[in-house]
Symmetry: C2
Subunit: 111 residues, 2 copies
Amino acid sequence: MVKRATVALDLDAVFAALAHPIRRAILEQLSGGDASVGELAEPHKVSAPAISKHLRVLEDAGLLKVEPEGRVRRCHIDAAPLSAAFGWLTRYRVLWEDRFERLAKHLEKDP
Amino acid sequence: MVKRATVALDLDAVFAALAHPIRRAILEQLSGGDASVGELAEPHKVSAPAISKHLRVLEDAGLLKVEPEGRVRRCHIDAAPLSAAFGWLTRYRVLWEDRFERLAKHLEKDP
């Protein structure tokens, strides 16, 4: 049994973690299945410490879990923080789209 | 007619813009309707320059348009970059949830 730290959902950290193309690519890769740190580093032309830093940002945001498996560190995704970010966007997207629809109707009536 | 700069959709900038509670609060406020810079600053206990900086971050990410209206600067939301962020999350959320469902089924079969 692997001990896991409880990571509080922190929208600031989640959105900040998503604000880098390498971190989004890592999450995209992990969507297909768990991967080792080496497998995650492979597609990117950056140093090992740079990848470790990105993984740490994802881990701190609660998006990634790293677990030792023999000599390898296996990474997998934790979707809960993603759902929180998704929830925030969904809530306000509805309001924004509603405003656009009302504006469009207003313009139809009163061109 | 107000001239508008074309803002390229930049997911890095959009997610980074969403990674601050004051900027999210500004977007939440603007979901209810356009507002002046003063009205947006009012709920927050931070300096005017700090609010201006947050508005600039939102503007640079393409989430906010500021237009002069007499002496007042009116702010309104632009939902296109939000849709891009939403699209990214939606795409990977489906994959992640699919993985969780498969894992759950696997655990049911093989407890």
